[in-house]
């Protein structure tokens, strides 16, 4: 079905199952270790061998020679595939760096060989015996700040150049011109990239861990030059993704190559120390922000000049993205400089663009509010916009940013905040409060599903949609239960298999809204089919408690399907009105209280509150989990997460979880999440939007602003570690 106009009243509005805070239906499987993740699927293919990858020891150059004799002779080794055996394998545009093949090295830890052995230990031991001679390029560059400096005068096509920014800025009554930096960030998902591959002739099955099944199927077709139909992917459980599993990656390619070479199933996982440099990261940014405003606090000019690293062909982390549509202001100049740096591939990580952009913009807003002598909540309210500032004829479908701020201020007791930076003390600790706004677009993508009523009266849903820990299983089951009038317990959901209808997949915060709309469409098709069987107008049917009721009659679903399952399939496609006539987005406000040790600078987050405006919430429990997870990730980005660049060797040095620190339980206090009541009929038939990325947007700046408020020391370079403000803390005796 096509979604060509705003949703009206429909079956999903019953909200008997949808909208309820239900526990994950896959929860028991996960908490008891019964949900099989890719590397643990021992039963899916017989006689699995184990592959172990080798990564490049240089960042840019080429391989001169590779000696595999010793590895080949190592105990248990069945075969070795090296990158020198083949030309560089073709890739699709989603991937920026090439994944395998050829001599050329584009980045550190690029996959260059895979050793296949009878056991993991044998494969790993043999992999260490491969000797590689490299020729390093001398012209490689790894220093974003240096390249940006050299290329600041480049003529870059702005993203937005509206009005006359320079004049408006120059004549503004109050101005801010500040530069912020965000480091490279690692997805650090719990489950590493892992794949089991098995060929049957020229047909390949991959049991893998991937957010976007169809994208990867298409990428495999390109890479192996075979029809897409020859590939099957199965990815029912995914231990975190955050964007690092959006695309086909080297684990799948190496497993496939190795399986082809040895003629048996091969499983392979990327070792943790290889993940950071072999896969992708959130690009580094250097962001200059200029804001001009009137004395009354109206923004008249806003400029955001973002520089970020990318390998050739990528966009990096476009920090100027959110600034396009977040705040009003007639004169706007937004620029993204995607600079070619030979670090590993920068690519999507949770709320790409908005995350790093709002880390900067929302400090800038705090700084402006201070210059204006205004409450930062009030300053944001004054500059709210109900239309897309770059195309004022486009309205936001629903935008309740002001309510987020006001509700948050009330619940957080913002009025009693510390108002003068560095002035509130509790014992050894300085106490501070910070606020920041959150913005993230609410896209939707075509999404299909197949739904059946089975002879036992149960409902089965099949779609290649993925659940990356987000709760897809549960909200899809809720949707089907609602639509078919059954209880959640009799809905069986099967995800992540490329044999199922193509879904939107998990990415860009579109998964929940799109995939449930696809299930809605398939359920409508099924209801229609049932109506046809009963020779009744579908509108006259009522589905409830496992029965179809019509004209004073009722039939159990099990009876209807007694002769065999009744199945229907459909897909939802979103009309242009959704993206062209209206701007759909989600909004939020974050409030944070921190304590900073006045002597040592240690930072402890004490309270966090997020108020979210994201349309109808399909399941408040899974949605809350998404938001608190994102808030936690935002604390990491604010206070500790940073891929350390070695600008001599061109790699991320702290490439394991001992060196790349993410928040632990002791870092995270009570987190409160409030969802504004509401629905967005412009979004989907279910009137829902995503929240998984909204939660990380802006939260780091709220922490940063709270640290400033506590100490009076403004830090514009993330993460805010104590070394950056130690010398600005109160003098010691």
């Amino acid at each position: 079905m096509r979604f060509d106009s705003p949703a009206e009243q429909n079956v999903s509005d019953r909200m008997k199952v949808l909208g309820q805070p239900l526990r994950r239906i896959d929860g028991p499987l996960k908490t008891t270790g019964m949900a099989p993740y890719a590397y643990e699927r021992h039963g899916v293919a017989k006689d699995q061998l184990v592959g172990y990858p080798v990564g490049s020891a240089i960042a840019k150059g080429r391989i001169v020679s590779m000696d595999i004799d010793e590895a080949q002779a190592s105990p248990g080794v069945v075969g070795i595939v090296t990158t020198l055996e083949m030309e560089r394998l073709p890739k699709v545009d989603w991937n920026v760096a090439y994944l395998f093949g050829g001599r050329e090295i584009q980045h550190y830890h690029q996959a260059i060989a895979v050793v296949v052995a009878n056991s993991f230990e044998e494969a790993r031991a043999a992999a260490a015996l491969i000797r590689v001679e490299y020729e390093e390029d001398q012209d490689a560059t790894y220093d974003l700040a240096a390249v940006r400096q050299e290329r600041l005068s480049d003529d870059v096509e702005p993203i937005d150049n509206i009005g006359d920014f320079e004049s408006a800025y120059a004549s503004a009554e109050v101005t801010l011109d500040a530069t912020y930096t965000t480091p490279g960030q690692c997805h650090a998902q719990m489950e590493p990239h892992a794949t089991i591959a098995q060929w049957d002739g020229d047909h390949l099955t991959l049991w893998t861990s991937n957010q976007m099944i169809e994208w990867s199927r298409q990428a495999l077709a390109t890479t192996f030059d075979l029809p897409a139909e020859n590939f099957r992917l199965d990815s029912p459980y995914i231990g975190g993704g955050f964007g690092v599993k959006l695309f086909l990656r080297a684990d799948a390619v190496m497993a496939a190559l190795a399986a082809r070479k040895v003629g048996r199933a091969v499983k392979l996982a990327l070792p943790r120390p290889m993940s950071a440099n072999n896969t992708t990261h959130r690009g580094l940014t250097i962001q200059r922000i200029r804001i001009g405003a009137s004395q009354e606090g109206k923004i008249t000019a806003i400029g955001h000049d973002n520089a970020t690293n990318t390998l050739p062909g990528g966009d990096g982390e476009n920090g100027a993205r959110a600034t396009r549509r977040f705040y009003a202001g007639e004169n706007r100049l937004l620029i993204n400089r995607a600079l070619e740096i030979h670090l590993p591939e920068s690519n999507a990580m949770r709320a790409p663009g908005e995350t790093a952009g709002l880390m900067a913009l929302e400090i800038a807003m705090d700084e402006m509010a201070e210059k204006l002598g205004m409450d930062p909540v009030e300053f944001r309210i004054i500059n709210d916009t109900q239309v897309d500032p770059s195309h004022p004829e486009r309205q936001f479908s629903e935008r309740h940013f002001i309510e987020c701020l006001q509700r948050g201020a009330e619940v957080f007791n913002w009025a009693s905040r510390n108002k003068a930076p560095g002035s509130r003390r509790e014992g050894a600790w300085l106490i501070g409060h910070g606020v920041a706004g959150a913005y993230r677009d609410a896209p939707a993508e075509t999404s299909g599903a197949r739904v059946s009523v089975r002879p036992d009266g149960s409902i089965r849903v099949e779609t290649d949609m993925t659940d990356i820990g987000t709760g897809s299983y549960t909200i899809i089951a809720q949707t089907a239960a609602e639509m078919m009038g059954v209880s959640l317990e009799v809905v069986n959901v099967d995800l992540g298999d490329s044999r199922h209808p193509v879904s939107a997949g998990s990415g860009g915060q579109w998964g929940a809204a799109s995939s449930t709309a696809g299930v809605y469409a398939a359920c409508l098709a099924l209801r229609k089919k049932i109506a046809e069987r009963l020779a009744v107008d579908p509108e006259a049917l009522e589905f409830s408690e496992g029965y179809v009721r019509y004209n004073d009659q009722q039939t159990a679903l099990s009876e209807l399907a007694s002769a065999g399952s009744i199945t229907a399939e459909d897909s939802i496609e979103f009309g242009d009105f959704r993206s062209e006539e209206y701007q759909l987005a989600t909004f939020g406000a974050h409030f944070v209280e921190v304590a900073v040790h006045a002597t040592t600078g240690e930072i402890r987050v004490r309270r966090m509150l997020a108020v979210c405006d994201a349309g109808r919430i399909l399941n408040p429990m899974t949605a809350r989990s998404q938001v608190i997870g994102a808030m936690t990730m935002g604390v990491g980005a604010a206070l500790m997460e940073s891929l350390a660049v070695d600008t001599r060797h061109g790699f991320f040095v702290n490439h394991d979880l001992a060196g790349y620190e993410v928040p632990v339980h002791a870092d995270i206090p009570e987190q409160q999440v409030i969802f504004l009541e509401g629905e967005d009929p412009y979004s989907t038939p279910l009137k829902a939007k995503g929240v998984g990325e909204l939660g990380i947007c802006g939260v780091s700046a709220a922490v940063a602003n709270a640290v400033y408020n506590a100490t009076g020391a403004r830090v514009r370079d993330y993460p805010i570690t104590l070394d950056k403000f130690l010398d600005r803390l109160p003098e010691i005796a």
């Binding site: 050894a428 002597t599 402890r604 060797h649 490439h655 339980h665 870092d667 010691i732 005796a733």
Partner: protein
Amino acid sequence: MRAFSYERAGSPQEAAAAAAAQEGAQFIAGGTNLLDLMKLEIETPSHLIDVNGLGLDTIEATAEGGLRIGALVRNTDLAADQRVRRDYGVLSRALVAGASGQLRNKATTGGNLLQRTRCPYFYDTNMACNKRAPGTGCAAQGGYSRQLAIIGGSEVCIATHPSDMAIAMRVLDAVVETVNAEGDTRAIPLADFHLLPGNTPHIETVLAPDEFITAVVLPRPLGGQHFYHKVRDRASYAFALVSVAAVIQPDGSGRIALGGVAPKPWRNEAAEAAMPNGARAVISRLLEGATPTEDNKFKVTLAERTLTAVLAEARG
């Protein structure tokens, strides 16, 4: 990980003899550090001598009024011991500030002293590292050195010792007891146990290859107030940027050792004479001659400030 042979030792002396008998042999106790390093091929022992069955897992009072801690006493048990908590609070606090509950359940007293550095270049076998591969150079010099040593290092190595326990042991003047293949024993003050890198950063202690740690002895309790203030980038489960182990007496005198700043627990008894003059005076003596990098020069200030916080807490 390379293939290795394995045996269980029957006694401390047998363990030492086994180490003497085979080149490339190493002892394994908790394995919390060694196994990781073997997986990464940073350590490549050809033979492992499992010492877990040797007993050595009790804490006993000494005739001198101190405690003899068996080398195989687990960190969790040591931290929880009533006598340690009562009389050696600095040690208990240092232990629970390190690693995670799971690791502390496995990690042993002897092994903790012998853990290797967490320098990221030591961990990446593509990088030059004189500690891992003598003579290859030091990629950390001029590289990412935020966590690394500000004092006690050399041109060829600026790694730090990662232990928290050892910092507290140093403040307590602990003594390491060993036995060798011949059955000879010796007692090594912790102050002399770890070596500075000089030109041989791969040699980290004074232990002979066939020498096995049997116990760590704590002298009589010092009294006073005990502190272990560990500053790190997150609240838990991270290595110290700087840590301060301190025992402060009511008259303001006391002992101080620093972690996170040097290749060994960093203490200088002469600096402690400056205690009455405050933290800045102590640290300027203790870190005299420090040669921090641009990345880690903040550690000098941080040490001063952390000691200030400890002294303030001591004053109450």
